[in-house]
Symmetry: C2
Subunit: 373 residues, 2 copies
Amino acid sequence: MQEAKLKIKERILMGSGPCNVHPRVLNAMSQQTIGHLDEQFAQISKEIKYMLQRIFQTKNELTLAISGSGSAGMETCMVNLLEPEDEVLICINGVFGNRLADMAERCQAKVIRVEVPMGEIIKPEHIEQALKTCQPKLITIVHAETSSGVLQPLEEIGKIAKEANILFVVDAVASFSGIEIKMDDWNIDAIYAATQKCLGAPPGMSPISFSQKAIDVILKRKTKVQSWLLDVLILKDLMTAGKRSHAYTSPVSNTYALYEALLMVMEEGLENRYERHQEMHILLEDSLKKTGFEFIVKPAYKLPFVNVIKIPKGIDDVVFRKELKQNYGIEIAGGLGKYVGKVWRIGLMGEGCREDSIQLLLNAMQSILKKCK
Amino acid sequence: MQEAKLKIKERILMGSGPCNVHPRVLNAMSQQTIGHLDEQFAQISKEIKYMLQRIFQTKNELTLAISGSGSAGMETCMVNLLEPEDEVLICINGVFGNRLADMAERCQAKVIRVEVPMGEIIKPEHIEQALKTCQPKLITIVHAETSSGVLQPLEEIGKIAKEANILFVVDAVASFSGIEIKMDDWNIDAIYAATQKCLGAPPGMSPISFSQKAIDVILKRKTKVQSWLLDVLILKDLMTAGKRSHAYTSPVSNTYALYEALLMVMEEGLENRYERHQEMHILLEDSLKKTGFEFIVKPAYKLPFVNVIKIPKGIDDVVFRKELKQNYGIEIAGGLGKYVGKVWRIGLMGEGCREDSIQLLLNAMQSILKKCK
């Protein structure tokens, strides 16, 4: 293969995503582009659908990956399910809940916020309390808030939503393929994810899935979906060989990468993959605690693949992370929202979730801290 | 690099896009993912901006590539520039004009259609006539209609729009880097393109540019842009190193590919590149005419890189194209809209626009036609 003039200096990515991509996935992506109407592409898309169904644990027919970031998936859920004047209950415990609220407002929906401080979870009683004074069409919640490192339990809230006949929409951008998701069992009606987090593919696609209940709501809309690009009734043509030309051109190379990354998840086994993310988290946590680092999130709600720790007193956030990147080639993430300058977020996602990465990081952190003191 | 299990059977892509990608671009894309907040990524994005400005021939500061297909760029123009009740004049001479109208209607704009049959161009007098009875906020037009193979002259219409103080929005999805575009000289206020046509990068990004006049219109909006994902006031943060985290995660690998493909355009030189597309078109046209093929579009408006020819009598469209793909590995496009089953569309875009591809195609077509007769 002829060499590019572009030369990227590699990094060890241990932030909140994107994470490093396995050479097999890069190799898949670098194969020659074919047409998005090619029967090979139809076959790849079909297999992707099955693998996505497996990871989301759903039987939903409308399961596919769209072009765009996780935010494209987020907006797809909002524009298809909401119409002007609809009430929507948005659970907020970090940055991405706020983004959902922003999008819902742009759909002219009436947003009811259920808000807890960053680092906390939304409890079933918060939802029950809110439902006393409103009748939302849907409830949205973020499964894994990378801004705060919180893992949100979903099962109980899914039950409440089902009983009240409210659509349940879940942000699985970061959790996808890193921790268990049971879309059907947890009564989730719409879900969206991203490729660059625990899956370890490059950013650029968003896996989504809609339940029959969600599709029925869309079919009964009084108004057209406000986005052509994200209209699921058009998007579903991306899955159908003869109708592909009715929708936009699929990102062919990203689809290769997604296929290979999903295949690697299947080869590893979902259980093993979740266990690896958990084990590596414990390894990192134990080591960091021994060094005196404090974790922000309560043990019960701690996200294994985004570890939020307090920046030690006297250490400059920006200087430390710059040194870590420049001299050790390791990227970790700083704080978002109220956490800016106060925490570091250490990601253990996909390919970055390995013992050797953790050791490299721990050694580098030790050296820099020593130097700073 | 570890080999992928995914094995793609390569094709010679001579349809309406995507087209084949140069090995240098594939090599760029296959480099390891870095964070979208990395300073290397900021530098790449900055250089991409300069190269896009060069190809669009504009000084516009708001010039960048967004995540998504050309349709994402199309919708970006519509949602940012239109508000409910706005009048918009949409020129339609093929499939993509209709898509623009659909998107504008989803913005609750009042769509006025200026329509000519597929294969024809929109003339300045069509616009002047239409302006007698409406006061649109913007006029949209497709520079290169790949559905009909028509190249639309823009300069005169740009003048009319400027004099009437109407925003001029151009679809450059197919024309980008295949034929001259003079955004500033032609008074174009918003433009969008795609990476998988004449540029020869994989699909997945859409270069866009907005004039100051367009930005002023956006800043004076009474309503919020209905899409968070495509709001240019958020998108512009993708260009600003310190603010990148406010927007979505950029498609890092596609950005590498875009960078390398743009670099190759700069190395070839814009003039040389346009000339190559023109010369190869003449070569193909001469050879096809000798074989008795008829062209649909009048010589004056013929798109060099999408050649629309009538299917000879007695030849089955689907059978012929299947044979061409299966036995010769060559993909050409069938007809769209009223042209379904009646024409073939032969693309000469980017890497596919080479003498050897043309020879392979001509020989294959001859052999299959002989066999059919």
